[in-house]
């Protein structure tokens, strides 16, 4: 008989606990979840990203079908109002009474609003739920000025949100500086400066006394120092208080200043009741970060299921984040409160960087650190602090710039297996070592297997170092050679071709390779040559390099026949052109099918028929669709503002423009794009290498998505772009991918393996951090300018056409190709069907 587990609270930590219980002992427990908010668990940590799409969907934490598959009953929008510890039941607002064997209170916290007169006026908000964000967005539409009370982590996120909503934003902070908990005076000063440079006003030492009607705005805030501020809306972000009301009314032990008291197993004063997350009080502390919350969820789940005996032992509150585009990090005792602590501080006013480390009196260990403006050393410093690793003789070397290119202070070998490398997802060095031993040899594979570097991403560099160290130790010579013929990576070869102006495979092999090449390096070289010089791919010197499909400019099918795909830019086609395709299909008895790429595929063409078929298509105005190439395939579209009542831009024209711009571009792997005319996203742009979604102000650009075997959602890259900028960024993005990707690497894997990931890409493409932008655009312009439809070139060359015959010495067709009919069309006959028809013929004869 399954035991009953009731979880009160459906936030990130409550949901994590449910997942852990399911994974440890799913069939032993019947789980019931109650959540007060009107929606299933969502990622409150990344709440601010709601503004990107104004939708809760991307934040959803519940895998589709999770509840159904595990028999979990989740009551959304139904608050538990009472707990009976004797009867062991919970009662909900809507009258549900559920019995439990074990109960978990994961009720989180509520935003503290200081009891200032006027705090409950209209257009005063808190920043915690999606409903809060929706209300703030609606109010901002009618306002010009916004103020955030509270200059901590969450307050600054709220300020960014108001700023992005178009309001003149003010941050009002009670303490003498921003982020007073994590950041010291010097760091706080730099942070303030950088925020003010963004156009947000910062007021510190400001004690709000009362809020009344304003003159030029909705509110007027009065401060203790006799100053005032007019603002249209106010967001309170002045701290959180634990939601412990259920514990109080039930008689569980609570802290003096609130919070449900728990032991090391996260049990409350009743052994059958647990508490995890922000509602729990452990040794007098409440933990408001996700990492300790998740740790508590794990400890409690193990204890409930009897699957482990880990204990919660407090959590390190170190954190690294990007606030309003500014890197900020804090480690351990950031304020040097420890007796005898000494500090080293590096301030660079030109680069706007502040770095401070706090070391023990004997200078042997690192106690804390503050980083503002550049938090690259965070991973390193955190490891030193957590593991009490002995500091180098000159500790200052850890934060001073690496002017002489000296090796960094820490080799990852010094770290113990228990060292937490990724604290967002609780991945230790030992976990990574096991994963590498189990076969993970790339950053992407490690991310997949362990979830390391998939949270804030701050540990990516460290994860890579651990991986490389382990691979070396295992003697896995990670051979990055393309193949036995070239001791180079694809990126190396690309450089050699570009810089050396190498125009043929023979030249490349002669100068940099050995042997006779193979089916790995030849197509890779062909692709590089095409991306650089864009010659006709069937030139004599290039023909033999081409992979199966490019060789005949058509997709080879299982029986040796080919398919034909004319380009239909944007998926838009006239009735006349449809008729031509129909006529060609009938004339040559081809099988026709609509493709996922919004065009038409014709099957069953023998190699010798290809030139004739294409001649007819070209005469009718068609071009090659490159369905056979590692090249741009299609740009899908929705009809957009031309026809659709919801469209906000002309997505149809943009799709056609993009497809005509990039047709013929060859790349490490196929490229697929789409343009949607509004957020309903009918063109499915979010699963494309480059996806474009219209906004009222222009285009949002998404990158590195794909469908297929391992679907990946594209990432938002840039917003509200005008046409010109969109094309510029796509030019740069594609050319950078072509330049730096591995052979047959889709854009998704390429980005997952880039240290620095999406942010790095944005820096390179948008901010031109590598100074490559002009070069990349020029290289793309060359490809665009030298475009020729390769089928057109082929049909106009009688010598080439001759190369398509099946036999070099006969006009006969391949007798092995035969078809049968199914659903009014042809398909290849199976071996049995071929035998049957042969014996039929013999019988007739």
């Amino acid at each position: 008989m399954a035991k009953q587990l009731v979880v009160v609270g459906n936030g990130p930590v409550g949901h994590r606990l449910v997942e852990q219980v399911v994974s440890a002992a799913g069939d032993e427990w019947t789980i019931t979840v109650f959540g007060e908010e009107p929606r299933a668990a969502y990622d409150r940590v990344h709440l601010t990203s709601w503004f990107e799409q104004r939708s809760a969907e991307p934040l959803n934490m519940v895998a589709e079908g999770f509840y159904q598959a595990n028999g979990i009953c989740c009551h959304v929008g139904d608050k538990v109002v009472a707990v009976d510890l004797i009867a062991r039941t919970v009662t909900s607002q809507q009258g549900e009474v559920v019995a439990y064997d074990k109960l978990v209170l994961a009720t989180g916290s509520f935003p503290f609003v200081p009891p200032i007169p006027g705090h409950d006026r209209d257009n005063c908000f808190v920043y915690r739920t999606i409903e809060d964000l929706e209300a703030i967005t609606a109010a901002a539409a009618n306002g010009k000025v916004g103020a955030v009370v509270g200059g901590g982590l969450l307050g600054l996120e709220a300020a960014k949100a108001l700023h992005d909503l178009g309001l003149k934003t003010h941050v009002v902070e009670f303490a003498p500086r921003l982020m007073a908990v994590q950041v010291d005076e010097g760091g706080g000063a730099l942070l303030r400066k950088k925020i003010e440079e963004l156009g947000v006003s910062v007021h510190t030492d400001k004690n709000t006394q009362r809020i009344v009607d304003g003159d030029s705005a909705t509110h007027k805030m009065f401060f203790a120092d006799d100053t005032e501020l007019d603002t249209d809306l106010i967001v309170f972000s002045a701290g959180i208080r634990p939601r412990d009301e259920l514990a109080r009314s039930a008689g569980l032990e609570v802290g003096e200043r609130g919070g449900i008291v728990v032991n090391n197993y996260c049990q409350t004063s009743d052994e059958n009741v647990y508490s995890v997350g922000e509602s729990a009080l452990w040794e007098g502390r409440i933990y408001g970060l996700i990492a300790p919350g998740n740790q508590m969820a794990q400890v409690a789940a193990e204890h409930i299921c009897g699957s482990g005996d880990s204990e919660f032992a407090g959590a390190d509150m170190s954190t690294k984040l990007k606030l309003m585009g500014i890197d900020v990090a804090s480690v351990g005792d950031a304020h040097a409160n420890t007796t005898g602590a000494l500090c080293y501080t590096y301030i660079n006013e030109v680069e706007q960087v502040y770095k401070k480390i706090v070391v023990s009196a004997d200078k042997q260990s690192l106690l804390g650190a503050v980083l503002v403006g550049d938090a690259e050393e965070y991973g390193n410093l955190l490891q030193f602090a957590l593991n009490k690793i002995r500091l180098p003789d000159q500790p200052e070397s850890m934060i001073l710039p690496n002017i002489d290119n000296q090796a960094s202070a820490l080799g990852v070998d010094a770290l113990p297996a228990s060292a937490a490398i990724c604290s967002c997802n609780n991945v230790t060095k030992g976990d990574l070592v096991s994963a590498v031993a189990g076969g993970c040899a790339t950053l992407a594979a490690l991310k997949d297997k362990t979830a390391a570097a998939t949270g804030c991403g701050g540990c990516a560099a460290l994860v890579t170092q651990v991986m490389n160290g382990e691979l070396e130790k295992l003697g896995v010579a990670v051979n990055t050679d393309l193949c036995e013929h070239f001791p180079y990576t694809r990126q190396d070869l690309y450089s050699l071709v570009r810089v050396g102006h190498i125009k043929s495979f023979d030249e490349l092999l002669d100068k940099h390779g050995s042997g006779m090449g193979c089916e790995i390096c030849k197509p890779a070289a062909a692709s590089i040559l095409a991306s650089c010089w864009n010659d006709y791919v069937l030139e004599d010197t290039h023909q033999g390099l081409q992979d199966t499909n490019d060789r005949f400019l058509a997709n080879m099918q299982k029986d040796g026949t080919y398919s034909v795909v004319p380009r239909v830019p944007g998926g838009e086609i006239t009735a006349d052109k449809l008729i031509v395709i129909g006529q060609v299909a009938k004339k040559y008895n081809l099988y026709t099918k609509i493709t996922g790429g919004q065009r038409i595929d014709l099957f069953g063409a023998r190699s010798e028929q290809l030139p004739e078929i294409w001649r007819e298509l070209i005469d009718a105005g068609f071009e090659s669709g490159h369905a056979y190439g590692k090249a741009l395939r299609t740009v899908k579209s929705c009809v957009g503002s031309n026809w659709c009542r919801y469209g906000v831009q002309d997505s149809m024209s943009m799709a056609v423009l993009l497809e005509n711009r990039y047709k013929g571009l060859r790349s490490p792997h196929k490229l697929k794009m789409a343009v949607s005319g509004c957020t309903r996203e009918c063109a499915e742009a979010q699963c494309k290498d480059v996806g474009v979604i219209a906004t009222e102000n222009g285009w949002n650009m998404y990158v590195c998505g794909n469908g297929g075997m391992k679907p990946r959602h594209a990432d938002l890259f840039a917003t509200d772009l005008d046409d010109e900028t969109l094309l510029k960024y796509i030019d740069r993005f594609f050319m950078f991918y072509i330049r730096t990707a591995d052979r047959l690497q889709r854009t998704s894997t390429w980005m997952e393996n880039l240290e620095g990931g999406l942010e790095y890409l944005q820096q390179v493409v948008i901010e031109d951090s590598l100074g490559l932008a002009a070069e990349l655009e020029q290289q793309m312009a060359h490809v665009i300018g030298s475009y020729q439809c390769e089928w057109k070139t082929t049909v106009n060359d009688p010598q080439r056409v001759k190369q398509f015959t099946h036999f070099v010495n006969s006009d006969l067709a391949d007798a092995n190709v035969s078809f049968v009919r199914e659903r009014d069309q042809v398909r290849p006959a199976s071996d049995d069907e071929k035998k049957m028809s042969a014996s039929n013929i013999l019988a007739i004869a």
Binding site: E484, H485, G515, M516, G517, C518, E519, C521, K522, P523, D540, Q543, G544, L545, Q546, D547, T548, R551, F552, M556, K558, D559, G560, K802, Q803, H806, F807, V808, N809, S810, L812, D814, N816, V817, D831
Partner: protein, 110 residues
């Protein structure tokens, strides 16, 4: 006494690629491999025994160590151009003697 049949001009086969010949009722894939300015010719069965299609002549040629090979275009198994042996599976392609006389490629007649 051996007889040879004319198949095609050398120029009909682009260097480092193959073409298929109809020879005595069979399909023969002829390859022209060029290295250091000189050509070597090979001839093997055009029928891929694993994919069961007449496509070998359309494969990419190259070397595996010292062995000249062609990779079948459908599933990329490698076949030694000297012996016809598949490097990955226990199958083999029939081979034919092939030569060039003047500008003409010839296959031996049985």
């Amino acid at each position: 006494m051996s007889n040879w049949k004319d198949i095609c001009p050398v120029e009909a086969i682009v260097p480092n690629s193959g073409r298929c010949a109809l020879h005595e009722g069979e399909q023969v894939a002829i390859f022209r491999l060029r290295q250091g300015g000189s050509d070597t010719f090979y001839a093997v069965d055009n029928f891929d025994p694993l994919a069961r299609a007449n496509v070998i002549s359309r494969g990419i040629v190259g070397s595996r160590g010292n062995v000249p090979v062609v990779a079948s275009p459908l599933y990329k198994q490698h076949y030694c151009l000297n012996t016809g042996d598949c490097l990955e599976e226990d199958v083999s392609l029939k081979t034919w003697p092939v030569r060039v006389v003047g500008d003409t490629v010839q296959l031996r007649v049985n």
